[in-house]
Amino acid sequence: MTIYSSESIYRQGIGNIIRMMISDFSKSRELVWRLFLRDFTSRHKQSLLGWLWIVLMPLMTMGTFLLLNMSGIIKIGDIDIPYPIFGLMSFSIWNIFSNGLAITTNSVTGAGGLVQKINFSKDSLVFASFGQVVIDFLIRAALTLGILLLYGRVPLTSFFLFPIVLLPLVFLTLGVGMMTSLLQAISKDIVSFVNLGTGFLLLLMPVMYSAEQVGVLGKLNAVNPLYYLVIVPRDIMLYGEVHHLAGFVLSGIFGLIIFIFGWMFFYLSQTKLAERI
């Protein structure tokens, strides 16, 4: 028996709501997979360059930073490994957040009629859309491995820890993405803010460069959870070194809290979505 009323879900209490979220997610695993396949199959169907974009994007970003470095606008700094390896790995990790956020933000409004005309678990759209980001990362990580070997370097064992060390970043991205996808359904400005914000953050944070962080920028990054969730996994995978462990752990906890809160915010509000799109 299902009861539809404006307040029924809010009366459940947080514990029950979290149980319902997990149970609904478990029931919609097949749907998430099917929606992922839909996006995967159709993604590059009408694109001239198709899958090449996955490689072109980091190459273009790396080229821009190299150009800015040569012009003296940005200092890439001292890097112990060849820049193509550093740049590609950094971009791949950063892209989990930046592209992940852009894709998840658009996932619900992009479904349009589906949301308005069929009753299904809308968070499936967000989870499924994130699958494309995972595919992009895996392709780029494989490419980084190839380049490592091309330079005659043996990848460290820690390189293969990426499913664990990147999990907090995935949580943070999904949590924020859940909230922004909902807000995007209410106001179409949100995705523009997201793109503007992630572009700005890429310049502020030492993702594509390694110059030492001093002054205001250093202070800002010291309290920025995203800084730890991007930089620490990169250092673990490329150097096998862990700096800022405390910052990483705290940021990981922060990412998890944002994920739970974002998902709950989405879950409780998803029925309002159909009316707003």
Partner: protein, 249 residues
């Protein structure tokens, strides 16, 4: 007989102004999360009642028609029964798996083939892969698209899209089937086939039907009872002929 749908004093409001709609959306979501009242009974500026104090029941195996002029609230009510919208006031109790045909082809991806869309749409409608595998041939046979299974749906005619959409929905084995006018798109022979299928669902599976249409002949053919809506309120409930007479009067 047991009620499978109970609509209890349901009201639903919408907003005419897009900017206010966004603002109300944000405030409603925020207030709901912190468990504050969203003043559901009160209309804010530019809001209007799409449905007001609507109550009726539908019994297992019954076919009920929702009729009324455009804007009377029929489609909104169907979406409320399907759980796509939530009532602002009142509640709706639904017992059983619900299938909805609110728009033909919704959920189809234009670039994917007919076969890919059968799996996609079937899953969206709550079917497991195994169920789709088992019913795949029946779905294709009923939709009459076997030759076009590997063709992208964007190259289908509107009739083919309706046939495929209808076929997937009826083969998802719903206990309650909600249909909103979509059969008008198909040609006469397919409409006939759809009505025969609806009748067989009722006869063989005791499926409950809620049917929205402007075609009174179709309503007469399918429905045992009707609900006449006017400006979002129930004007008359009763036997099909009586309610249709009141509507046409």
């Amino acid at each position: 007989m047991k009620n499978v749908i109970e609509v209890k004093s349901v009201s639903k409001k919408f907003c005419k102004n897009i900017k206010r709609l966004m603002m109300y959306g944000l405030t409603d979501v925020a207030r709901g999360i912190v468990n504050l009242s969203v003043h559901a009974e009160r209309l804010r500026r530019d809001e209007f009642w799409a449905l007001r104090n609507v109550s009726f029941d539908v019994k297992k195996g019954e076919a009920v028609g929702l009729i009324g002029l455009n804007g009377s609230g029929k489609s909104s009510l169907l979406k409320l029964i399907n759980g796509i919208f939530l009532p602002d006031v009142g509640e709706i109790i639904v017992r059983g798996k619900t299938g909805a045909l609110i728009e033909a082809g919704v959920g189809f991806h234009p670039s994917l083939t007919g076969k890919e869309n059968i799996y996609l749409n079937g899953t969206i409608l709550g079917m497991k892969k195994k169920e789709i595998d088992e019913r795949f041939s029946d779905i294709v046979h009923f939709a009459e698209i076997r030759e076009f299974l590997d063709t992208p749906v964007k190259n289908y005619s509107s009739g083919m899209v309706v046939r495929l959409g209808f076929s997937i929905a009826v083969h998802s084995a719903p206990d309650i089937l909600l249909i909103d006018e979509i059969l008008a798109v198909g040609d006469l022979s397919f409409q006939k086939k759809c009505f025969e299928k609806i009748e067989s669902l009722r006869r063989d599976h005791n499926t409950t039907i809620v049917f929205v249409s402007h075609d009174m002949n179709n309503i007469r053919r399918i429905c045992d009872r009707c609900v006449l809506l006017e400006h979002g309120r129930v004007k008359k409930i009763g036997g099909t002929d009586k309610v249709i007479s009141a509507y046409l009067a």
